[in-house]
């Protein structure tokens, strides 16, 4: 142990993995800087309706983590910020972080007056653009840091009206981007993932048929904070779907798309079947799969959902989804167990698309090496570690476990500095 103050650990990405790394490290006595690209923490998990296997809403775990964050003075959180430069400095790194202009400052009380005064809208990034949101708004319900965001460029009068509407003087239209440099002992990349774009699957109707949605969009449809207030409906006509199909491995385990299995989509679709049956009890749900990958206690979810009346699992990957003239969707697959083609007509088709690492194809200031699938590899020599889905595809629980381990490794590496 040295007497001098230890340099902090830099954590990039404040999703469930990044938050966990920062919290575990800080609660073990380290300093941490948590940098998040979005205006609020929470990442992908915040966009999930319920997560398996216990089907808890993300608010549970997330609220607990936010309270841990607020309480812990060893963690500094920078939202709407990105690492723009990184150079080796001794054992660790010297990094520059650029933060977008903070048009809404800490005086904000989340009263909502600016939102009411704002006439302009944007495609809501929190809901994958499935709905419109005001240009002045809370990023998502319960967003933390607890303050509004302002998409200044989307506001016709440059923000004058909303500024006048704010009673607390929390809006600063002249805010400038800020750059700050830090000396850090170790770096943890928890940059997460993005859904494989359904537009790359036009043969399955992705980006072609309006009622072909991705699994992540199903989460938003089912969520009370989603674009429909939690009602599962067809995007084209707003009606509840009576016939729903799930296409497993849509763009996964496929050399033409993602070569690997994301490991969560089987469970996600079973869960979604549960959402549908809960809201629309007489709905017919068919899941077209190659393998049902539900290891461990997830097997219970499979048993429970597949026993529901009106839920059918068909072995055989769907090869084609097309619109029919009357606005429904025609899906073609081989029912392998029956040895014949199963052609079905559906109201809604959900593509179980996989997780693609955000490190793949990204500019990597830390020189991080990637595996052939685009997931990051630890570089202990350089004190750079990778956590969560940036490291490998996994579910929320595994991501949290993984992040805890990474926190320990990063802290150990930091001790050398």
């Amino acid at each position: 142990m040295t007497a001098t103050k230890q340099k902090p650990i830099l954590v990039v990405g404040a999703g469930i993995a990044g938050m966990t790394v920062a919290l575990e490290a800080a609660e073990a006595g380290r300093e941490a800087i948590l940098v998040e690209k979005e205006p609020a923490v929470g990442g992908r998990v915040a966009r999930i309706h319920n997560y398996f296997p216990k089907m808890c809403p993300p608010a549970c775990g997330m609220e607990l983590n936010v309270r841990r964050l607020e309480k812990n003075s060893r963690i500094r959180v920078l939202t709407a910020a990105e690492v723009t430069r990184a150079d080796r400095s001794g054992v660790g790194w010297k990094v520059t972080v650029r933060q977008e202009p903070q048009y809404v400052n800490a005086r904000c009380t989340v009263c909502g007056d600016c939102e009411k005064a704002c006439a302009d809208t944007v495609a809501d990034p929190f809901n994958f653009g499935m709905s419109k949101a005001k240009a002045a708004r809370q990023f998502r319900p319960d967003a933390w840091p607890r303050r509004f965001v302002l998409d200044k460029d989307a506001i016709a009068d440059g923000g004058k009206t909303v500024k006048e509407a704010c009673k607390f003087g929390a809006i600063d239209l002249d805010a400038m981007p800020r750059e700050e440099s830090f000396d850090v002992s170790a770096v943890v990349l928890a940059t997460g993932w993005h859904p494989y774009p359904k537009e790359k699957l036009p043969e399955l109707g992705g980006g072609v048929c309006r009622d072909v949605i991705a699994n992540v969009e199903m989460e938003r449809l089912a969520s009370p904070s989603g674009p429909t207030g939690g009602k599962i409906v067809r995007p084209s006509d707003g009606n509840p779907p009576k016939r729903v199909a799930f296409v497993q491995c849509a763009g996964s385990r496929d050399v033409n798309h993602l070569a690997y299995c994301s490991g969560v989509c089987c469970l996600a679709s079973l869960k979604h079947a549960g959402y549908v049956k809960e809201q629309i009890p007489d709905a017919e749900v068919t899941i077209f799969y190659i393998d049902r990958r539900t290891p461990g206690r997830n097997e219970e979810v499979l048993a429970k959902i597949s026993a529901l009346p009106g839920v059918k699992l068909v072995k055989g990957k769907a090869g084609k989804v097309e619109s029919t003239p009357d606005g429904a969707l025609k899906l073609r697959a081989e029912d392998v167990e029956a040895g014949r083609i199963a052609e079905g007509v559906f109201d809604l088709v959900v593509l179980a698309t996989g997780m693609e690492s955000n490190l793949k194809g990204a500019a990597l200031p830390f020189g991080t090496a990637l595996d052939p699938d685009g997931f990051g590899l630890d570089d202990p020599e350089a004190c750079v570690f990778v956590a969560g889905v940036a490291r490998r595809p996994e579910d929320v629980a595994a991501s949290v476990r993984d992040a805890t381990g990474v926190a320990a490794r990063a802290a150990a590496a930091a001790r050398r500095s």
Binding site: E203, C249, R253, D254, V255, N256, H257, I290, K315, G316, K317, A318, G319, K320, R332, A333, E334, V336, G339, R340, I341, E343
Partner: protein, 369 residues
């Protein structure tokens, strides 16, 4: 169940792999291929099932499976296959194994199946035969001015060679065809008349409608279509020419505007266009056209040689010195003999096997497709 009850044909997987079907091992049975195939019937989808049989080495099962021939290798399956297992290539390889296994006599099947190394023999023997025959007939002396090709190769020699060669090839094809038909019959009960079902199949072949439903290699339909009709017209030309000479005693060479000449030239144009499309597709195709094995290349090469030397022969009478025109003509005759002799054992035989499989399919499914 014991291993012998499963009865995978010994060595079949290795055989398949060596002949161009090694990618079958990559298949994980997702069934994308069957679902995107436009040709597979709903109650007997392929090629997912055939890929499983190939992986397990069930050679007997595969070789007697009519679905293998219903496939036109348009490669919609291969393009979409998530494992790059190339079902289109595997099906094509199985077809080449069927042709070899049912060959009569069997050594000819083996010889042509290994055309990658035996092609010098398959072309060289007919070439040496023509050179020797012409040496015997006219000492390989060519006239100073060429009025017609009968001055180089007398027509009686053409008849003496091609009647027995085509007769033997037809007999060998008939034997293999009967073997194939009986093999299919041992798997599924058939009903209805053979000829009654042959007519719609021939109409289908003549129009290439099924081919048209393929997506990945749609341009291939027209290449294949032009080659088919080019061959049909060429055969008709030959038939009419024989009739004209032997029955009507028409003087040769025929004038360029003679109907038989026009028919012959139409077939040449069709063959040239078809051949060009097929070659172009193979050059740019990648997964859309599939791998080209020795089995494919020998047949295609032979057809191209026949077409090109045929056109050059016709032009050569006017444009080339007689000796050059004569040698081009000898190469043309070489290609023709080689094509006739190898017909029942080369890719050419798919015409018979596929037609039979399509008739079988109709008769084994009385409701039709």
């Amino acid at each position: 169940m014991s291993v012998s009850e499963l009865n995978p044909s010994a060595g079949f997987r290795e055989e398949l792999a060596a002949r161009g079907g090694a990618t079958a091992a990559r298949c994980y049975q997702c069934a994308t291929c069957s679902s995107v195939c436009q040709l597979a019937p709903d109650d007997g989808p392929f090629p997912r099932r055939q890929m499983a049989l190939a992986q397990w080495g069930f050679g007997d099962e595969l070789v007697s499976d009519p679905a293998v021939w219903l496939c036109h290798q348009c490669n919609d399956c291969t393009v979409r296959c998530p494992r790059d297992a190339k079902p289109g290539d595997v099906m094509q390889t199985v077809r080449s194994l069927v042709v070899e296994k049912l060959a009569a006599p069997s050594f000819m099947g083996r010889l042509v199946a290994r055309a990658g190394s035996t092609w010098p023999l398959l072309l060289g023997v007919p070439f040496l035969f023509w050179v020797a025959a012409l040496y015997g007939v006219n000492g390989l002396q060519f006239p100073a001015e060429l009025k017609g090709f009968r001055e180089i190769v007398p027509h009686w020699l053409i008849y003496v060679v091609f009647y027995p060669v085509s007769g033997l090839a037809a007999l060998a094809m008939l034997v293999s065809g009967v073997r194939f038909w009986n093999m299919l019959g041992s798997r599924a009960a058939r009903s209805g008349s053979f000829f009654g079902n042959l007519i719609p199949v021939l109409i289908e072949i003549a129009t290439h409608k099924r081919f048209g439903s393929c997506e990945a290699a749609s341009s291939r339909r027209w290449g294949h279509f032009a080659l088919l009709w080019g061959f049909v017209f060429a055969a008709a030309t030959a038939g009419f020419a024989v009739l004209a000479e032997t029955v009507l005693k028409t003087a040769t060479p025929l004038p360029l505007v003679h109907p038989i000449k026009l028919l012959g030239n139409t077939s040449a144009v069709l063959l040239l266009v078809g051949g060009a499309i097929v070659v172009y597709n193979r050059l740019i195709g990648g997964n859309r056209t599939g791998a080209s094995t020795a089995f494919d290349n020998f047949f295609l090469g032979l057809v191209l040689l026949l077409i090109v030397t045929g056109v050059l022969t016709e032009a050569g009478r006017f444009a080339f010195p007689p000796a050059l025109a004569a040698w081009v003509y000898i190469v043309h005759l070489t290609a023709a003999v080689s094509l006739f002799v190898t017909f029942p054992y080369s890719k050419f035989a798919h015409f018979v096997y596929r037609a039979l499989a399509m008739v079988h399919e109709r008769m084994a499914r009385p409701q039709g497709v």
